[in-house]
Symmetry: C2
Subunit: 119 residues, 2 copies
């Protein structure tokens, strides 16, 4: 769902992070198609900066989307097609979930490949 380098490509803080932690229910039931569609849809919204998502074999997942402002976060939450996905997520795809809205104040990254010339 995300490339390994999402965090490496973000602008300097401050910006906003929407932290979505969840436990999937069993079975796909349309989840994979929706998840891919939501990433595409999010990337088309104003203020979108990036997304990264990891889910383990037990169905535990953390997805973080990044936004330029709190207003952009609000607009994305209220986007029509996203609202329908949120409802289906609550009824069908997730056993539990938590959404946290956070202002990223500092960030630092390290990429081995970028250091290849500095042994």
């Amino acid at each position: 769902m995300s490339s390994p380098s999402t965090s490496q490509a973000l602008p300097d803080p401050p910006y906003y992070a929407v932290i979505f932690t969840s436990q999937r229910t069993d079975g796909d039931r349309g989840y994979a198609v929706m998840a891919e569609r939501m990433v595409t849809l999010a990337s088309e919204q104003p203020g979108y900066l990036g997304v990264e998502s990891v889910r383990d074999a037990e169905g535990r997942g953390i997805t973080i989307s990044y936004w330029s402002s709190e207003e952009a976060v609000h607009r994305w939450k209220a986007q029509n097609e996203h609202l329908r996905a949120q409802a289906a997520g609550e009824s069908t795809w997730y056993a539990d979930y938590c959404v946290q809205i956070a202002k990223v104040e500092r960030a630092y990254t390290k990429k081995k490949s970028a250091d290849a010339t500095h042994p």
Copy 2:
């Protein structure tokens, strides 16, 4: 490394999140023991609120630790044994990583089991 309910058990915002995204190198090389030790060590620090961690089959991971204040985050970053783990992480365990310090301003959770009596 974390129970499914970490996010469900946090206090009301505001609090701080340290978002650690990483790509593991191949092979364990002491990683699993260190990771478990760091969770234990973090939980003993003042201001610790919880941690959740997910890593997928490709070695991509997101770990979020939660803290009561920015001061608690600073102290944890500077903790001696944690500093040694950070150095080993940079040299050995991670191909790339990103650390983001964020202030959580809002949060909402949903747990299916808690709704079992509300069909």
